[in-house]
């Protein structure tokens, strides 16, 4: 995954910019409708086996990241080289890595940086991108022009290249800087989605009605427009969580992301790629965890979109 926008398009199938779902959810109208839209969506999601499985998987990975002690009592830093590359056994389900560290506990502890980075970057992206997108869409005119040009500038940096440049220049590669860079390069996508949905919902009759009875701009934006515009953003944010997990691993793999001795899936993959033929499990376990996580986020986003978009009912 080298480009976030392509992830969105791939899964959404809609043209870049998210006009599709935005326009539709907006068209459903008032707040009461949107309340029942969410209730309907929840009912449909609970019944969708794909969503439930993906959600459980994410829950498992999330608990690994939050409470690694729940999953393993081993210390991933307890290494002796004479145990180097011992294959999986009952006591050590993932075996040992080249340095003789328990690989299973390494994998458990490796979930944390990936998930932390993904969640922090997504959170910042949703807040900043969402607000800027809403301002651009709501006020239009100069505000829109400035924010849109700013978006164009960040869009013109291919995601991975931009991340490499920033991380090389900053020279400090830790969870915070990586999350910051991922956020910096991805907020325009959310802003563009938000802007599109705000533009399509701000001309609806009930918004005019609220304006007519003297609602303030802030109230109009947050009470009347936001609830309608939030669905496509939520769908994209879910998918992007997966994309960020990939991005962190890719940057680490290239050597500009997290550095050993930090534990992360990206480091596990990049350190053991040459042992693939003799001891394939050294590569397959972290790859499997990584792919499973990304896949789960994408499937969740997909199911969420189907549930929130009345067109797919």
């Amino acid at each position: 995954m080298s480009d976030l926008t392509s992830a969105g398009t791939a899964v959404g199938g809609a043209p870049i910019g998210g006009h599709g779902p935005g326009a539709d959810t907006a068209a459903t109208g008032g707040k009461e409708r949107s309340a029942s839209l969410w209730a309907d969506a929840r009912r449909q999601l609970v019944r969708d086996p794909v969503f439930v499985i993906a959600f459980l998987y994410v829950l498992v990975v999330g608990s690994m990241a939050a409470f690694p002690k729940l999953w393993t009592s081993q210390d991933p830093r307890d290494c002796t080289t004479d145990r180097s590359r011992i294959p999986p056994s009952w006591d050590h389900p993932f075996g040992f890595d080249t340095l003789g560290c328990d690989y299973y506990s390494h994998a458990i502890y490796g979930a944390r940086p990936s998930m932390t980075i993904a969640i922090m970057a997504t959170g910042a992206m949703v807040i900043v991108g969402g607000v800027l997108g809403m301002l651009a869409g709501y006020y239009g005119g100069w505000t829109d022009t400035i924010i849109s040009r700013l978006m164009d500038i960040f869009f013109s940096l291919p995601f991975l290249l931009g991340a490499i440049v920033f991380l090389t220049v900053i020279k400090r590669q830790n969870i915070w800087t990586i999350a910051g860079v991922l956020f910096l390069l991805s907020w325009p996508t959310i802003a563009r989605i938000m802007r599109g949905s705000v533009i399509s919902s701000k001309d609806l009759d009930y918004v005019h009605a609220a304006k007519a009875v003297g609602a303030t701009n802030g109230r109009l934006m947050f009470r009347h427009i936001l609830p309608n515009a939030i669905a496509p953003m939520l769908v994209y944010a879910t998918i992007v969580l997966g994309a960020f997990v990939t991005a962190e691993a890719t940057l680490t793999f290239l050597g500009v992301g997290l550095q050993p001795p930090t534990q992360s899936w990206g480091i596990m993959i990049s350190a053991h790629q040459v042992y693939f033929l003799e001891d394939p499990w050294l590569l397959l376990f972290p790859c499997g965890l990584l792919v499973g996580t990304v896949l789960s986020f994408i499937l969740m986003g997909d199911a969420l979109r189907d549930a929130l978009d009345p067109k797919f009912r």
């Binding site: 080298s2 480009d3 791939a10």
Partner: protein
């Protein structure tokens, strides 16, 4: 059409300058906070003062504004922009080689890789998408739908490493044991990395890996697009005109359905360039992507900045061309 082109060009110029300023400002900030990067690069060794000074001077790092934190260094920026556009100057590396020379050496490999990737993803992606789209809900449709989700969720570096080891090493070793297999196949196509002896054959598999991710996107996009258009009224009109099915699908449906796909492929050139960084690193291709990775690993930020500036310009021009192409393909845009 003319007004559309002009409007698009007017948007293009601030975007180019803005992007260059972004790259410039981030470099300046880094220098303002952590000092001259050239000195740091030499590590513990004391660089010859003459060299240090020459490189620093050449890269403009001697500018006094770089001592003031948060100063945007507009003068330096103006110098850089004129350097880029009038002298084609994208900076130098530590051995005082021009970045343009480094890129010139690397670009043939990257271009070949990109061509293979784009052709692969366009041909296979569109074919799969059309196949699935025409048979909505069938086995073919579900197969394409499910397999594309899987391809999308496999990071390109995981795919690259697995393909290199399985196809290049393991399967390649089997082939290399057989005497009747032509060398081009066993040592070229199925080699675990780039081989200078087979400058094209050994790029086929890396190119396919690079194209794989966007291949899935292309297929999905084509599929949805075809499914939307196949039920369109004008397709029904084409049937009512007594045209053969081949023509109804091949001319009236496809022409409309491929507009978003072609736009995507054009935009995808940018992400394919970024993806080339990963693919070239894995398959050891001496292209621009590996140049970026190697410079990034050693911390030679001047090279990274120079190369990325160049790539961004290429991407922006490509996007501009795609937009104009879009207007050519879809007459409704032209007359807006």
């Amino acid at each position: 059409m003319g007004r559309y082109v002009i409007r698009r060009l007017l948007q293009f110029i601030p975007t180019v300058l803005g992007t260059m300023f972004l790259l410039h400002y981030i470099t300046s900030l880094a220098i303002q906070f952590s000092g001259n990067p050239v000195r740091a690069l030499f590590g513990d060794r004391t660089p010859p003062p003459a060299l240090l000074e020459a490189v620093t001077e050449r890269l403009g790092y001697a500018d006094p504004c770089l001592d003031q934190r948060f100063n945007p260094c507009l003068g330096l920026f103006a110098d850089r922009v004129t350097g880029v556009f009038f002298q084609f100057d994208f900076g130098i590396n530590l051995r005082q080689r021009e970045v343009t020379d480094l890129v010139a050496d690397a670009i043939p490999y990257t271009l070949k890789l990109l061509v293979i990737a784009i052709v692969f993803e366009a041909v296979v992606g569109i074919a799969a998408g059309v196949w699935a789209g025409l048979r909505g809900g069938s086995f073919a449709d579900n197969l394409v739908k499910i397999s594309t989700v899987f391809v999308i969720s496999v990071p390109i570096f995981v795919l690259g490493v697995v393909v290199r080891e399985f196809v290049g090493v393991k399967f390649g070793n089997v082939l290399r044991d057989q005497t009747w297999i032509p060398e081009v196949l066993s040592n070229g196509v199925f080699s675990p990395g780039f081989k200078p002896d087979y400058p094209f054959a050994s790029l086929v598999i890396p190119g396919m890996v690079l194209g794989a991710v966007s291949l899935a996107t292309t297929a999905r996009l084509t599929r949805t697009s075809i499914m939307e258009n196949i039920r369109a009224d004008y397709v029904r009109t084409a049937r009512a005109k007594g045209l053969a099915n081949k023509r109804v699908i091949g001319v009236h449906t496809l022409r409309n359905s491929l507009i978003p796909v072609i736009t995507f492929l054009g935009v995808d050139i940018g992400s394919a360039m970024a993806g080339a960084v990963v693919t070239e690193t894995i398959f050891n291709v001496p292209g621009i992507g590996r140049l970026v990775t190697l410079s990034a690993r050693t911390g030679e930020s001047s090279v990274v900045i120079g190369v990325v500036t160049m790539l961004v310009l290429v991407v922006l021009v490509a996007n501009l061309l795609v937009d104009l192409l879009y207007a050519v393909l879809d007459p409704r845009i032209r007359y807006e």
